[in-house]
Point group: C2
Chain length 339, copies 2
DNA sequence: CTGTTAGCGCATTCAA
DNA sequence: TTGAATGCGCTAACAG
C-alpha cells in the first residue's frame, strides 16, 4: 500500500469546470461564489472525495491550526486526565490537538519540541515537569506561544496554570495534626523537582515545624512516583519498632502503594495508620478504605491551559502564571491515632 | 506572540554563500558536497537556528515521517499502556508519533482520521474499538496503511494485532469452575462490541454452558467499562438473597469496582466471593486482595502494531491479523467457595 | 462573481 | 561539485 497521491484542488476545479481559485473560495468562504457554481464545486469535491492538503495550506499561511501537547507519560492517569481536559475543550472550540508522548525522557522532550517547530504547530502546551535550560532554549526557538500546564517557569517567561502545591501540602499536614497525629512520615518525589515534589516537601516541613513535630530524617523518604515505590518505602518504614502513625504522600499512586503495604503487614488503616495522598485521582476513591487526599482540579487545569494558548495565538497579551488552590478531600484513610 | 516566520533554507544559503540546492544536499545527503562547503553550510544553519519546514518538505515528498495513533481515552490506563508501547518502539526506530485522542466519540474519531488524511500522515494505527461503516470509509479514503491495535476487522480488510478475548474469557471461567464455583455472575461491556466485550461474553457462556452452570439472566449484567459501573452492578447483585459466589468481569476496572462494593457490603474476598478481571493492568495488582485477572500483553501489542505499520509503509505485503494468547494471572481475589 | 498568476519552503531535475 | 529552474497543492492578490 504505497501512498497514493490523491486528488488535488486542480482535479476538483477541472471536474467542476471552474478555476482553482473558485474552489479555494468555496472551501474558505473568503469571497462570494454564485450558488450554482458552489454547488457544482461541492459536488465535484464529494465525487472525488477530495480533502485539502494541509501541508500546502500551512506553507501559505504559516499556520497549521494544530496545537501540540507534550506529555511525559500518558499511562499515568494524572496526565491522562489532564490531556482529556484539553482535548474536550479543544473539541468544543474546534481546535485540533496532537499529543506527543515523551516517556519522561529529555531527549524525547526536545525531539517533540523540534517536531512542533518543524511542523509549525500554532502553539505548544507543555506538561512534563521541571524546565531545564535545554527546554527554555527550545521554547524560544519555537517562535510560537508556549503554555505550561501543571508546571511553571520560575522565571516567569512562560505562563502556566497549576495548583499551589505548597498550600496543598500544608493542608494535608494540618489535617493530620488536627486529628492529633504527631508521628508523621513523609514520602515524596525528588526535592529537586521545583514544580510538584519540592513545594510539597516545603509545605509539609513548614507546617510540621510550626507544630513542633518535624519528623526525623529516617521518616523523610525520597521515592519515585509510582505505587511500587510507595509500597517498598512503606514496608521498610512500618517494619521499624518505632513506626509513624501517619504518612503524607506526594501522589495518590505512592499512597496506594502505602495502603497495600499496610494491608500486607496487617496494619489497619485508618485505625493504626493514617495515609494522605496528593492529586485526587478518581481511582483512589475506589480503594478501601478510600484515600484521603489533596485534590487538584486536573480537568480544569487542562481546559484553562488550552484557553490560555488560544488567547496567546490570537495575539492577546501574555497573562501571567495562574495558581489554583487545591482542596482537601477527607475520605476513609485518615482518623485519630489510636495511641 | 505572533508567529514569527523564522529562517528559511534561502537564508541559510545566502549566509553560507551557496545555493539552496547545496543546502538541501547537505541536509539530505542526496549528493556529494565538498567538505569545505558543507562546513560553511552547517555553520550557517547553526547560526540561524534553522530547521526545515516539514510542510514544504512533505509537499514535495508526499510523506511526513509521522504516524498517527488514534486513541479513544488516554486517561484509561489500558490505552495509556498501549500508547506507551508504541511510542517506546517508535523512539527506538526514530519514528515520530502523534496521538489523537477522540474521547470515545465517533465524530472525533472521524475528525481524527480526516486530520491524518489532510496532513498526509504516513500511517495510522487505530485502537478505538469496533469499526463502523464510517470508519471503513474513512480508512479507505486515507490512501495510507492502517493498522488496528487491540481491535480487529471482521472482514479482514485491515490487519490488526490483539489477544483472543474468547479464549481469555474461557480461561477465567475455567479457573473459577476448577476452584469449585457453580454460581457465577457475569459483568460485561455491551455485547454489540465485537472486539472485546462480545467475545468475552461468548467465551464465558460457552465455558459455563459446557459445565452445565450457565447463570440466570439476572446474573448477566451489561455494564460500561469503569469502576463506578462495576461498583453499582455489584451492589445490586450482591444484595440479593441468593448471591453468586464468583463474578467474572470484562475489565480490571469493573472488577476493582466490584471489590470496592464487596468491601462496602462486608463481603470478604476471596472467602465469600471470588472476582476475576480482564486486562492485567498493573494497578490491579496493588489492590488488596490483588486481583486475579486475564493478562493481555498490552505493551507488546503496541510495539507490534507499530512494527506492522512500518512494514506496510515500506511497501511489504499486507500481513493478516495476528492473535495473541492471553494469560491467566492468579492472584488473591479468587479461592475455593466456602459453601 | 470568476480566472490568472505569483509565491509559500523545499527537493529535484538538468546543465554547467 | 555546484547552481538555476521547475513544481509539489494551495491561497491571495490582481484583473476582468
Amino acid at each position: 500500500m504505497v501512498p497514493v497521491p490523491g486528488p488535488t484542488i486542480r482535479d476538483v476545479a477541472n471536474l467542476a469546470g471552474v478555476s482553482v481559485a473558485t474552489v479555494s473560495r468555496v472551501i474558505s468562504g473568503s469571497a462570494p461564489v454564485s450558488p450554482a457554481t458552489r454547488e457544482r464545486v461541492e459536488e465535484a469535491m464529494a465525487q472525488l472525495g477530495w480533502r485539502p492538503n494541509m501541508a500546502a495550506r500551512s506553507l501559505v499561511h504559516g499556520r497549521t491550526g494544530l496545537y501540540g501537547v507534550i506529555v511525559p507519560d500518558v499511562a499515568n492517569p494524572f496526565f491522562g486526565e489532564l490531556a482529556t481536559g484539553m482535548t474536550r475543550e479543544a473539541a468544543r472550540l474546534g481546535i485540533q490537538i496532537v499529543m506527543l508522548h515523551t516517556d519522561f525522557s529529555e531527549e524525547q522532550d526536545l525531539a517533540a519540541l523540534d517536531l512542533c517547530r518543524e511542523h509549525r504547530l500554532d502553539a505548544v502546551i507543555y506538561t512534563s515537569g521541571t524546565l531545564g535550560d535545554a527546554h527554555r532554549d527550545a521554547f524560544r526557538k519555537l517562535g510560537r506561544p508556549v503554555v505550561l500546564a501543571a508546571t511553571f517557569d520560575p522565571d516567569g517567561e512562560w505562563p502556566g496554570i497549576l495548583v499551589d502545591s505548597e498550600i496543598g501540602a500544608r493542608m494535608g499536614a494540618r489535617h493530620l495534626l488536627s486529628l492529633g497525629h504527631r508521628k508523621i512520615a513523609l514520602l515524596g518525589g525528588p526535592e529537586t523537582d521545583q514544580v510538584a515534589a519540592g513545594p510539597r516537601w516545603r509545605g509539609w516541613r513548614a507546617e510540621l515545624a510550626e507544630a513542633g513535630c518535624l519528623p526525623p530524617a529516617e521518616w523523610q523518604l525520597e521515592v519515585r512516583w509510582k505505587q511500587q515505590h510507595g509500597y517498598q518505602a512503606a514496608i521498610s518504614l512500618l517494619r521499624q519498632p518505632e513506626a509513624p502513625t501517619a504518612i503524607l504522600c506526594c501522589s495518590d499512586m505512592i499512597a496506594l502503594g502505602v495502603l497495600a503495604a499496610a494491608a500486607d503487614l496487617g496494619i489497619s488503616v485508618p485505625h493504626e495508620l493514617s495515609v494522605v495522598g496528593f492529586d485526587g485521582q478518581a481511582i483512589a476513591g475506589f480503594w478501601r478504605p478510600p484515600l484521603t487526599t489533596i485534590g487538584q482540579p486536573i480537568g480544569l487545569i487542562g481546559r484553562e491551559a488550552l484557553h490560555l494558548a488560544t488567547r496567546l495565538v490570537a495575539g492577546e497579551e501574555p497573562p501571567t502564571t495562574r495558581w489554583l488552590t487545591p482542596e482537601l478531600i477527607v475520605r476513609g484513610s485518615t482518623a485519630t491515632p489510636r495511641r
